[in-house]
């Protein structure tokens, strides 16, 4: 059995991915500040770690524990992020710092926690989560957009720096998806109303992202690295 590490595993896409990885017979080291949707999950292969992605020590310890348990880290998926909309001129320095430190620096630090082990193994697949907002922008989303743009650059840099070591890194950019993130910023009618603007006629569900995430994390994508895969129902074609 191999370990997959998922950050932001307690809700949304992270929780859906965690469940699917367990079903696919992975040991999952699931990181989040709150157990959330995984509260009822009782799987012997699930190791929930109460971790803030700004805490390097806790992440390294969790990696060591996973290595002791299974001997191999097959992949890392970084889903941890916050998203609070606000008119740009009302964004405080604290708002800005919170987004940057969790969404961007937290992603970087999760990768730093896991990469040493992957380099030892000479294998591993990293999947970072950006957003269609990185390319398209969205109203009152400056801080979030900046962090998700940053993730695109970070993902490519990690891919380039470690390609020769047998490690792949890719990015998944979901379109609007029914998760706690947009639900924190809009009501259900508005959320589902987005379907009118999406060629495939519906908003995304976490499960829509899981199929692509699993593909990119797996050896099926062995020649795919440094790419941003956009799963958005055709809402953005670049």
């Amino acid at each position: 059995m191999e370990t997959m590490i998922v950050t932001g595993a307690g809700s949304g896409i992270g929780a859906a991915l965690t469940r699917r990885l367990l079903a696919e017979n992975y040991h999952v080291s699931a990181w989040d500040t709150d157990r959330g949707d995984l509260a009822g999950a009782n799987d012997q292969n699930l190791d929930f770690c109460e971790i803030d992605v700004r805490d390097a020590g806790a992440m390294s310890a969790a990696v060591s524990r996973a290595v002791e348990k299974t001997g191999k880290i097959a992949g890392l998926a970084t889903c941890a992020a916050i998203f609070h909309t606000k008119p740009f001129l009302e964004v405080t320095e604290d708002d800005w710092d919170a987004h940057l430190s969790i969404n961007l620096k937290g992603t970087m630090m999760s990768c730093q926690a896991v990469l040493p082990r992957m380099l030892e193994q000479k294998s591993g697949s990293i999947l970072l989560f950006s957003s269609s907002i990185a390319r398209r922008g969205a109203p009152e989303s400056a801080a979030y957009a900046a962090t998700k743009g940053g993730v695109l650059g970070l993902g490519r840099a990690i891919a380039l720096d470690h390609a020769r070591a047998g490690i792949r890194a890719n990015i998944l950019s979901p379109g609007i998806t029914d998760t706690p993130q947009p639900r924190g910023n809009m009501n259900e009618d508005d959320l589902y109303g987005w379907a009118d603007n999406i060629p495939l006629g519906r908003i995304g569900m976490p499960e829509d992202m899981v199929g692509t995430a699993l593909f990119l994390l797996s050896d099926e994508a062995s020649f795919v690295t440094g790419q941003d895969i956009r799963v958005n129902g055709g809402a953005s074609l670049f």
Binding site: R164, P199, L200, L237
Partner: protein
């Protein structure tokens, strides 16, 4: 063919098309279409020998009459096609200022018009089914540039644009259209227009230039194709995926 879905693959006699035909044969009846009839039959036989089923069809994708004939033959002998991969392609090397008009036309006809004609051939049957997935063959060179490949780059960019246009138009019918954009893959196209020595040197140089340090194998592109045609990518349309060893990241 009852019980197993059909897939149409053009350019299926060699390279990425052949690897894709062999891979998709695990789950599909494969229509192995190629200009090279012997090559198509050989791949078809290979599929059957491995326990799959296939039909070989000769087609010139740049010729409307030939594509329509293929469509009629599929309708008569095989049945609905809800998955298609259009991999037929050629590569003619040439400095932009010196490309003969005939070479330009051939390049654009096979890639762009061929993709257009083949899409027109399969889409009408997908619409009543309210289901379908098409993958076109673009390239890293739809986005990035190299010297000596103007016609190829124009063709691959055009295919990418056509793909996005079709994705928008057919999304209401639950038909997804995406593009593959491979980087350097070890296929016969890499040999085209090169001596054996030049080919060996090109392989080495290309491998060295890639972040991942090696050329891709056709099977690695076929694995991405399988994903793009499957329900694993049910919410993805109008996108391009680059199995390219990191040659282009965007």
């Amino acid at each position: 063919m009852a019980g197993i879905p059909n897939i149409l693959i053009t350019g299926a006699a060699g390279g990425i098309g052949r690897a894709s035909a062999l891979r998709m044969a695990k789950t599909h009846h494969v229509i192995v279409a190629d200009r090279d009839a012997d090559g198509a039959r050989a791949v078809s036989s290979e599929i059957v020998a491995a326990g799959g089923t296939a039909t070989a069809i000769q087609v010139d994708v740049s010729d409307g009459a030939s594509v329509r004939e293929m469509k009629a033959q599929i309708a008569a002998d095989i049945g609905p096609v809800l998955s298609a991969f259009f991999a037929a392609g050629i590569f003619i090397r040439g400095v932009t200022g010196e490309i003969p008009e005939a070479d330009w036309d051939r390049m654009i006809d096979i890639h762009v018009k061929g993709t257009f004609l083949c899409c027109q051939a399969v889409l009408p049957a997908m619409m009543p089914a309210n289901k379908g997935a098409i993958v076109t063959m673009s390239s890293d060179f739809a986005v990035m540039a190299v010297p000596g490949a103007a016609a190829y780059m124009a063709a691959k960019s055009a295919i990418y644009s056509l793909t996005k246009s079709l994705a928008l138009e057919f999304a209401p019918h639950n038909i997804r259209v995406n593009a593959l954009g491979p980087g350097p893959i070890d296929t016969p196209i890499l040999k085209s227009g090169r001596t054996e020595a030049e080919y060996e040197k090109a392989r080495e140089t290309l491998a060295d230039s890639l972040p991942i340090g090696r050329l891709g194998q056709p099977e690695e592109v076929a694995a991405v194709l399988d994903f793009m045609l499957s329900d694993r990518s049910a919410y993805m349309t109008g996108q391009i995926i680059h199995p390219n060893g990191g040659q282009l990241m965007w």
